[in-house]
Symmetry: C2
Subunit: 122 residues, 2 copies
């Protein structure tokens, strides 16, 4: 398996891809959808602190990248659901790991910050 792309190169397309993944809310959306499609309002509720505007922008960008599919049901009342595509599912694997790392290493990081803070007192 040859490595054709290198994120360390300034103009490599993978750089752009990595940038998109690193966008503020992408990791939250991917993780929120891990158990299946959700409605817009449900996503807003689940991802606390995100505004409709920003969520919309994130969703649009991810849809454009083929990470998720928007399904519109022509019912009464109307309903829209967002779900991960196969590509999005594959991204879920590493992004779930990142989320889990963040959740499980909070104490160490908070301690490190306090130590740094204390060191600055001198």
């Amino acid at each position: 398996m040859a490595v054709d792309y290198d994120v360390m190169s300034a103009r490599c397309p993978s750089r752009v891809v990595l940038h998109r993944i690193g966008a503020r809310w992408t990791v939250f959306v991917v993780n929120a959808l891990e158990h299946g499609p959700m409605r817009f309002t449900a996503l807003v509720d689940r991802i606390q602190g995100v505004t409709p505007k920003v969520l919309t922008e994130t969703l649009r960008a991810m849809e454009e990248d083929g990470l998720l599919a928007r399904v519109e049901y022509t019912e009464q009342p109307p309903r829209v659901e967002y779900g991960l595509t196969d590509l999005g599912q594959s991204l879920l694997v590493p992004l779930r790991a990142v989320r889990e790392w963040a959740e499980s290493h909070v104490p160490e990081i908070l301690e490190a910050r306090e130590r740094a803070q204390a060191a600055r007192q001198h």
Copy 2:
């Protein structure tokens, strides 16, 4: 293993941690240091496109979070090296996976974008 932190909660400390990880250049620095400590200039060269200013800021933040250690050698000429701490090493695992995902899925994403672009022509 109980889950004490939840990134979906607006005020959870893990949210801040995830934010730091997601900062523009953190993923690049962690990956660049995977094989051992490097000097400042070597990092600037390896991570193409990063400016000294931004790299310095990233390095300082990561040091404060206990992700990396700055070692100053009192030689002539002076030398400074940055290396991952144990905590940083543990973060390398998921972040390397993210980098590899980005590098290996570029074609699919570029195709998806072209499809989206073509669809908008109508």
